[in-house]
């Protein structure tokens, strides 16, 4: 397949994947599978009147949605979908994932502060509390995958899983990264920044129209991006028999995305202070153990 055609197919599959994630999200909340639901919500937000709150912070109000979607697009651009199908193959790819995703929190913080409302602001600070909880385990889990590949190129990390996928090689790291990915995308059970039932939408409670649309679209793309990251780092990326590489990547990605929503559907919300406590008291020591275990296995 020519690079142009595979690039086109990947873009198409990604857009389709975002729509599929939107259907999954609805299904996890309402229990019904509605194929036209996301399209209707899209049109609703697209045509909705833009309401600006009184004394809002103009700069943050305009910057936050663009920053949110911008960092997600940056993350997508460094992820390899198949051998050779990566927009920018960064020499520090594994670190860059984490660097870009930190700015999800910054965007939420800015959006929370900008609208000059209590619910949004509380949501924004909760996003920060969650980041302090998951940032150490996620970066340590990434370190262990880099140790095995002896390279920060994401393509090298996939190649290093030729004999055994990282999910089996370092299961502790996988669990930590998986849980952290849920928290990064503020999906249930870690959806406190936008808690619907309690903060009436939190960070995006006061956003309407195009700004909310950017946030909603960004979150769906974020879920898919994190699923691709899980696949690349732990599930052997594009590896698989018979089918082309990018088809395997997308099959695994959709499976991971579906599992994200399934987990969120059955587990009760975890409060941000509990998340801080669990992650620092158990998550960080486990992440250190994971690095130690991978180091020992590598030296044997």
């Amino acid at each position: 397949m020519t690079p142009f055609l595979s690039g086109f197919m990947i873009t198409l599959l990604f857009v389709g994947g975002v729509y599929f994630v939107a259907v999954l999200e609805r299904c996890s909340m309402t229990g019904n599978v509605s194929w036209s639901g996301p399209a209707r919500s899209f049109l609703l937000l697209f045509a909705q009147e833009e309401i600006k709150t009184r004394k809002h912070d103009k700069v943050f109000f305009e910057t936050a949605p663009i920053l949110f979607i911008g960092v997600i697009l940056l993350t997508i651009s460094i992820l390899p979908f198949s051998r050779g199908s990566v927009v920018i193959d960064l020499g520090t790819g594994a670190l860059f994932i984490n660097a870009a995703l930190v700015y999800i929190m910054v965007a939420l913080l800015m959006a929370g502060w900008a609208v000059n409302g209590v619910y949004a602001m509380v949501g924004g600070w909760r996003a920060l509390a969650q980041l302090i909880a998951y940032s150490m385990p996620v970066v340590m889990a990434l370190t262990a995958t880099v140790m095995r590949a002896e390279s920060m190129f994401l393509t090298d990390i996939v190649e290093s899983q030729q004999s055994l996928w990282n999910i089996l090689y370092q299961p502790v790291g996988f669990i930590l990264f998986y849980i952290s990915a849920l928290a990064i995308a503020f999906l249930p059970p870690f959806d406190l920044p936008v808690a619907e039932g309690e903060l009436a939408g939190g960070v995006w409670a006061d956003l309407t129209g195009a700004r909310k649309l950017l946030f909603r679209l960004g979150r769906l793309a974020l879920v898919l991006t994190l699923s691709v990251a899980v696949v690349v780092l732990y599930l052997g990326g594009w590896m698989g028999p018979w089918l082309p590489g990018f088809v395997w990547t997308f099959l695994k990605t959709l499976l991971v995305a579906a599992s994200f929503f399934a987990v969120g559907h059955f587990i009760p919300r975890i409060r941000h202070d509990h998340l801080l406590e669990y992650n620092w008291k158990y998550g960080v020591p486990l992440a250190l153990y994971n690095i130690f275990q991978v180091g020992v296995v590598l030296l044997l």
């Binding site: 943050f60 520090t92 913080l109 920060l128 920060m152 620092w280 960080v284």
Partner: protein, 172 residues
């Protein structure tokens, strides 16, 4: 010689200075902290422009977390975090101006007087840079990095140990 690299260096250098100036020109704590973050990100981009990829990405990653944590601490401890009372971000104006001028003159003087040597035309790629950085940390600079690393680890363990557990149940 004017290249794209030089133009980008100038643009992001000026952006870093402008955002640094904005830190003191706003009365809101959060705006001030996020302006500082923008300034630091501009410096991170300067590293990227100079093809020091690891340092650039590391700078951008670390500062995102650090400045946001600073924002929440400023929110907690200041009496007017939203800047509604038009508070100033600077104190002792005359001494600050004098200190600023002296330091600027010193830095510009040092930059002009220093022998920068020849400009490198050949440099290792990002992967090789990462490897060389690792070698540097584990060979010549091991003592410094290990001291700093162990100190930070001790600090982390100590702060977890002293952290109070939050009880949910209402005890009477």
């Amino acid at each position: 010689m004017i290249s794209v690299q030089l133009i980008l260096l100038i643009i992001f250098g000026l952006a870093a200075i402008w955002f640094g100036w904005r830190v003191f020109m706003t009365s809101s704590m959060v705006r001030s902290a996020l302006s500082l973050l923008a300034s630091m990100v501009a410096i991170g981009i300067l590293f990227l422009v100079m093809e020091a990829e690891f340092l650039g990405v590391l700078q951008i990653m670390m500062m995102g977390t650090e400045m946001s944590i600073m924002a929440i601490f400023m929110m907690m401890y200041m009496m007017d975090p939203g800047g509604l009372g038009q508070m100033d971000m600077y104190h002792q104006k005359n001494i600050s101006i004098a200190a600023g001028v002296i330091v600027t003159v010193f830095i510009v003087g040092a930059a002009l007087a220093a022998d920068w040597g020849t400009i490198a035309t050949q440099f290792p790629g990002p992967h090789e840079q990462n490897r060389l950085l690792g070698m540097e940390i584990l060979k010549r600079s091991m003592m410094i990095f290990e001291t700093a690393g162990v100190t930070i680890l001790t600090g982390m363990i100590a702060s977890i140990t002293v952290a109070l557990s939050i009880k949910n149940s209402v005890e009477k």
